[in-house]
């Protein structure tokens, strides 16, 4: 009996069913990542990049325009400044000042008095300036370019 209950005999002549693979728990099927969001992301990134690039470009162009505009404005203001500076220069030359003073009826005073501060003394013989002394004011008289042997 021990034989009958012993280990199965080999080569009994008929095919034996192959041993069953042990059963295992099938891992839960991972839900497949949907394709759509990824595509959307890529498209968004691409579009975003494109739009960003476009914006950057536009802003750069705008910047260039603004730069040109401001440069032009700076140029204009510089010209204006030069114009005004020239006018100031021309109006503040000794000649121009003397002429305007003379036009206002001012005459040079050839005999001024000096006040000496330490002792409060008046030095010099003050004389009222007269129109006669205008001869030495330099306002009238020939222009320096008209005199001498000009060769």
């Amino acid at each position: 009996m021990s034989i009958a209950h012993g280990t199965p005999r080999r080569a009994t002549g008929r095919p034996q069913p192959s041993p069953r693979t042990p059963l295992r728990a099938v891992p839960a099927r991972r839900p497949r990542t949907p394709r759509a969001p990824f595509v959307l992301l890529v498209v968004t990134v691409l579009a975003g990049g494109l739009v960003g690039l476009l914006l950057l470009n536009t802003s750069m162009q705008n910047g260039a325009f603004e730069l040109a505009e401001l440069e032009k404005k700076a140029q204009e203001l510089q010209s204006r400044h030069a114009e005004l500076a020239l006018e100031v220069e021309q109006r503040s030359t000794p000649e121009a000042v003397a002429e305007r003073a003379a036009a206002l009826g001012m005459v040079p005073n050839t005999n001024p008095a000096f006040l000496r501060l330490p002792d409060g003394k008046i030095v010099g013989d003050p004389e009222p300036a007269t129109r006669d002394s205008e001869a030495v004011s330099g306002v009238d008289g020939p222009s320096p370019v008209t005199v001498g042997d000009r060769g």
Partner: protein, 578 residues
Amino acid sequence: MSAHRNRARFCFVVVATLLLVFAGRLIQIQGVDPNAYAAKALAASTELTVLHADRGQILDRDGEPLATSMDARAIIADPKQTAENAPAIARILASELDVDYFDAVDKLRREDSRFVYVAREVPSYQADRVLAKLSEADIRTGVDTERDAVRTYPGGTLGATLIGLVSGETGKGTSGLEGAFDDELSGVDGEASYGATVKGVRIPLARQTTKEPVPGADVVTTIDRDLQWYADKRLAAAVRKSRSDWGVAVTVDLQTMQVLQLSQLPTFDAQDRSTVTPAAMNNRAVQNVYEPGSVQKVVTMAALADAGLVTPTTRVKIPSELTLDGFTISDWWDHGRLRLTAAGVIAKSSNLGTIALAQQMDDDTFHDYLSKFGFGQQTGVGLSSESRGILSPADRWSAAQKATISFGQGISVTALQEVAAVAAIANGGRYEAPRLVTEVRQADGTTEQVEPAATREVVSPEAAKMVTTMMESVTDPDGSAYGVRIPGYRIAGKTGTAWRVNPDTGRYVRGENTVSFIGFAPAEKPRFLTYVVLDNPRGGGSGSGTAGPVFRDIMQQSLQRYGIAPSGARAPRTPLEW
């Protein structure tokens, strides 16, 4: 099966060949001569523009501009594009600028050129206006502007000869201070390069490099602009009235030997090139030599006083005339035998008295004194083409020449030499060369002081004092120039009426003189020295009557401007006769 493989092999060969070609080219470009190719590529797409450096200013002692640069433009045109609208463009140009209409039309239609200057040195604001008008009329095509700096001289004629000019073509200073300080005034040009398309259009944000121009330095002179203007006008009035060939007036501040004004006529208007003539460009104070005449007597006296041979009261017997080497020398007024003191010799300007006193000194010693006073040498004031004057060596003097040199004939000087010599007397015997420039201010803010030249003692302070006393007697009631006194001030001066040498023949011309007056004030504490020279006044003129009043007016202005109060002191009365 084999067809597949053949195709793959074929592709491989093609790709490999291509890669090989690329690799070869890469090695050629990168390995063999990388720089040449890089440079070529850069050059093809790089536009280069010169950035002009601004020329420095010439300033007066208070920083007021005497010469300055203004931003200006040149109007340029491409005739190929403008020919069609030439009349319309020219009309706008002629109405806005100082441009001749027909001239402009010609230029705008020129056939052989694609670049013409229609107008130059146009102030920027005017150029902008013109372009705006052209754009408005829609005929702007072919017209453009280009930077074209313009030098402006706000004072016009003010000190024009001294300040000088800048050449329109090269931008270099050609005369006066503009020429002498050209290196300092002109800066270093820079350049800008930027990426551009083949057509020359600038590529925004492409690489660009800029070498900033270094602006020129400002030159600070010693000139007082107001006093210079006044002296110019006053001298001009005198030159006109006396109908002189030329005139020079110089004022120096004796404390610093700075030239406050240097007026030279004839001159020009620096804003109007048509007034520029060779005679007007001549810096006569340093370039023109002439015989100084009696003004020189004070130098002779200083030498004699220093050698202990003369004091203001030294007695001199003066004959009516004197014959030396066959030349008869007399005084400017007829007199019999005279008894004058040395002060009287100066006060009355006696040639014979000066000769008599100068005979006590030997030729070499006298020559040495003259050299020490700076005659025969440049003053080194800094203007170009300065003359040394003519002082012949003592061993070549005849008896007559020594005699005439003692009263200022037979010696030729420049006005600035005479100023420096007499200033030495005013400054107690100490010689210091006059100065025109004090400072060079670099654009970066650093300043370079122009150091004054070394001083030297020429005569003793006592000798200088004695000569000052003698010179004060010139403006005495009995002196030769009573008319030049200024109320309240003590004036030491000397007149000069020299025979004039005709520059062509080298001979004196009867009736032609060079008249002058030199003087300083206040005599007790000298502050200013003024020298006035008028050459060849018609009718002869005189030092006291022709040059004297100019001296008086300029001196009065100087004293007033610098607040020198009159002392009210009286000049010591020195006996003139005995």
